[in-house]
């Protein structure tokens, strides 16, 4: 069936106006379709993210409950870490422990003719006084003290000879 145009042909738009009008119409349709697609895409993403967030939050709540049930263990871990840090501070503190060890090493190697009469242990310094009844013992004592790696510095503070007691020598030793 043939199309019939009932409008007067002289007032309908013609030529380039129709083309521009069609172009704008097409652009309007395309942009509207794009808008719809974008809106749908975003809506889908929004819904998907919302579902994921809800799922993660539910899972996190479960984990929080589980962690709360392990609170005693967590308290223990916090306490262990705290005690270790405190012990580390104490061990870093100066002590006469190394001096006592050094004194132990020296006295364990003394010959029978040498005896310790006095020792004062303080932080970083060990003061000692020995009596050697013969010169051989004195030599051994000197060699023993010098051979100790634990001491950074050894000062011979005093040295005397008493015919009744023997050689009396005092040392001041500093631990490394």
């Amino acid at each position: 069936m043939a199309a019939i145009n009932l409008l007067p042909t002289d007032i309908s738009p013609k030529g380039p106006v129709v083309k521009i009008s069609n172009l704008i119409k097409n652009l309007a349709v395309i942009s509207f379709v794009l808008f719809l697609l974008t809106a749908l895409g975003m809506l889908a993403m929004f819904v998907l993210n919302s579902v994921q967030i809800r799922s993660l939050n539910e899972s996190s709540e479960g984990l929080k409950t589980s962690i709360k049930s392990l609170e005693t263990t967590e308290q223990g871990l916090v306490l262990v870490r705290d005690r270790l840090s405190k012990a580390k501070l104490v061990l870093a503190d100066e002590s006469g422990g190394e001096e006592a060890e050094g004194l132990g090493t020296v006295t364990s190697g003394l010959p029978g003719s040498v005896s310790l009469t006095e020792a004062v242990i303080s932080k970083k310094v060990l003061d000692t006084t020995f009596i050697a009844t013969d010169s051989q013992g004195l030599t051994t004592l000197m060699a023993l003290i010098i051979s100790q790696d634990a001491f950074d510095k050894v000062d011979l503070v005093s040295f005397s000879f008493n015919p009744n007691a023997g050689y009396v020598s005092s040392f001041s030793m500093k631990v490394k």
Binding site: F35, N49, I67, G76, R83, A87, V90, A100, V120
Partner: protein, 224 residues
């Protein structure tokens, strides 16, 4: 007639242009709002993922150490006790002296010092015995819990008998009062901490005896 043609031409351009403009405005407005919302939601999602990761790691670690942590607490709570450990240390020294062949004659407890992060109390004692016993005794004190350091020691020896006046410093510290936040990362002990824990686990712990409650008994009449 010309006016009618002009109006028709304008209408033919204007009406689709309005549609086009409205579509563009909708597109721009919708896209801007949508992107802002989705971006905000994405950051929430990332935050939720991060929180879940932290919680999973924390739960796994706590389950993993659940069995061993109580024994570690037992050791470390004795190594660095919560309260002044002077009396515990005296007991430890007496026990050690007994097996070392050293006699401790006097004990003196000084005032406690709470100035630093770790508090301490000075404990002085006099010990008698052979020099070969006293020096190893001094060196063994550091293997006792609570943790202590030698402050000063004066040793004298005459006619084969030695005596020592020793001052040691015994340490203690209050327990932590706060737990970290639930969503805060908790890490396992570092190698350094593990090493220190091993060393401290080798210390001799004090032995506590527990007195069990007894049922009341009928007192016998002492005048019968």
């Amino acid at each position: 007639m010309k006016k009618g043609l002009f109006t028709a031409n304008v209408s033919a351009i204007l009406i689709p242009s309005v549609y086009f403009l409205v579509s563009i405005i909708l597109f721009v407005f919708g896209a801007r709002t949508g992107i802002a919302k989705i971006s905000e939601q994405s950051s929430t999602l990332n935050e939720a993922r991060k929180t879940q990761g932290v919680l999973q790691q924390k739960e796994r670690l706590l389950r993993q150490i659940e069995t061993e942590v109580s024994s570690q607490v037992d050791v470390l709570a004795n190594v660095v006790p919560e309260k002044n450990p002077a009396l515990i240390m005296i007991s430890q020294l007496k026990n050690l002296a007994l097996v070392s062949g050293v006699t401790i004659t006097t004990f003196k407890i000084g005032a406690q010092n709470d100035a630093g992060m770790v508090s301490f109390v000075d404990l002085s004692y006099d010990a008698d015995g052979a020099l070969t016993s006293i020096i190893p005794f001094l060196n063994t004190v550091k293997t006792l819990a609570p943790i202590s350091t030698i402050d000063t020691a004066k040793i004298n020896q005459q006619a084969g008998a030695a005596s020592a006046n020793v001052r040691i410093r015994v340490y203690f510290a209050g327990y932590p009062t706060k737990l970290p936040s639930l969503t805060e990362v908790v890490n396992e002990l570092t190698d350094e901490e593990e090493g220190l824990l091993d060393t401290l686990s080798g210390l001799t712990l004090p032995v506590f005896s527990t007195l069990n409650p007894q049922e009341p008994t009928v007192r016998e009449n002492p005048f019968n």
